[in-house]
């Protein structure tokens, strides 16, 4: 096992870079971060629409969230894979395809977390803001969201862990990331699949377990701050 690591650690870390596209763990982390960052505005929009008093906003948002939750991620990846070249008008690489699919998929899940965070705030917050004369947007931006997002920090880290795990599906469309790198190593070595995939599993485990522990630590800190339970933590 150690020998495989000694000979291939660079491939696991950055893929074929600098002799080819960057990949490996670096790409996995990059894709997970950028997907989460890009889906954030959509997620907030969806969450606000689902809590809106207007039916014409609430119903489509609810439909989107339920549709996304009802489909396997791999279906989204294939739809993006075939559709995005038509929309963009040029060939789209594996990494871009995966990021687009993840942004749509994660936005729906993250919006549920944000919605739970907003609904978890005491009603008095909105009432106090309204009675001070604030309208909807100032209330939302200056009072509701800052508190809701602060309470949701642990769930957000869990969501980052989910996203890291989901980037492994890039393997199916040959996006160069960690799982793809391990498959390459396995194809070269041929005889030690258990060791290669064991290293892969341990790498993901070390990364995701550290982040999950961080989420738990933040959760304890926040519930200490507020003397109550923070927003619902969605299991990674």
């Amino acid at each position: 096992m150690l020998e495989i690591l000694q000979n291939n650690w660079l491939l696991f870390l950055v893929g074929q870079y600098p002799h080819g596209p960057i990949g490996g763990l670096a790409m996995t982390l990059f894709m997970a971060s950028i997907s989460l960052a890009l889906c954030f505005p959509f997620a907030i929009g969806l969450a606000l629409a689902r809590l809106s008093p207007y039916r014409w906003l609430r119903l489509p948002a609810t439909a989107i969230v339920h549709t996304v939750r009802g489909l396997p991620l791999i279906m989204f990846i294939f739809w993006t894979y075939f559709f995005s070249p038509l929309v963009i008008g040029r060939a789209v690489g594996g990494v871009e395809t995966l990021v687009i699919a993840l942004v749509i998929y994660e936005a729906a899940y993250l919006s549920e977390i944000i919605r739970a965070g907003i609904e978890g705030l005491p009603k008095g917050q909105v009432e106090a803001a309204t009675s001070l004369g604030l309208r909807y947007w100032p209330t939302t931006i200056k009072v509701v969201l800052p508190q809701a997002l602060h309470n949701m920090l642990p769930s957000m880290v869990s969501q980052f862990v989910s996203t890291i795990k989901e980037t492994s599906l890039g393997y199916v469309i040959s996006a160069h990331e960690l799982t793809f790198a391990a498959a390459q190593v396995n194809n070269v070595l041929l005889t030690q699949p258990f060791e290669v995939y064991g290293i892969l599993a341990l790498t993901y485990f070390a990364l995701c377990f550290a982040l999950t522990s961080l989420a738990r630590f933040i959760e304890r800190r926040i519930s200490g701050d507020r003397g109550g339970t923070p927003g619902v933590t969605i299991a990674a």
Binding site: G70, L71, P72, M75, T179, F194, L200, Y204
Partner: protein, 232 residues
Amino acid sequence: MGYVFDLGSVLNGKYLDWFLIGLATTLALTMAAWCLAMAMGIILTLVRMIPFPPLGWFVALYVEYHRNVPLLVQIFVWYFGVPSLLPRPARQWINAHHGEFLLAAIALGLAAAAYVAEDIRSGIRSIPKAQYESARSIGFGYLGAMGYVVLPQALRIAVPPLINQTLLLFKNTSLAMAIGVGELTYRTREVESYTFKTFEAFAVATAIYLAISFGIMALGSWSGHRLKLETR
């Protein structure tokens, strides 16, 4: 582009058969993994109740491994890794008997078991300790208190999350296509590459996945209302 969307072109003859075989395989894989997940989830919950710390650590490690490693990687470990550790006759048996289906079911079931164990545990935890204590004080033994008082209430609470796990398990069976299990996503790709009717093929698969998922979601929210305990 002149692309004509024609569902009929993928819903006839052998292509329709492929979809149906794929759907049947997806459902069979879901069932097989579900049974394993429930059995293993209950075993893990029971093992965790034994007051011997190393057993608790083992269960915690089991749960953390399955929650922090991507499911696809777990499937690869089972499909590529584990058979290479087995003796040759066992490997040949696996290859001759659709090993990919069996190994995918094991990987999916064991991973879901970690979540099932957590759901049952949080169900048990949400029952106030006084329930157990009062049962003991009116003369129930440990098993009687758990079996007649704590578990019936805990399972009611655990049913909606467990139905949600079933939904996730159903969706996750699509990952088995990566190791060549002929389930719905795999068959869809086959239909697509034979007919070049990309959008029709994936529209059919999407509709099938959504129909079943919505069914499971409806069951989940129905059970959530139906099983809710009156709290005072």
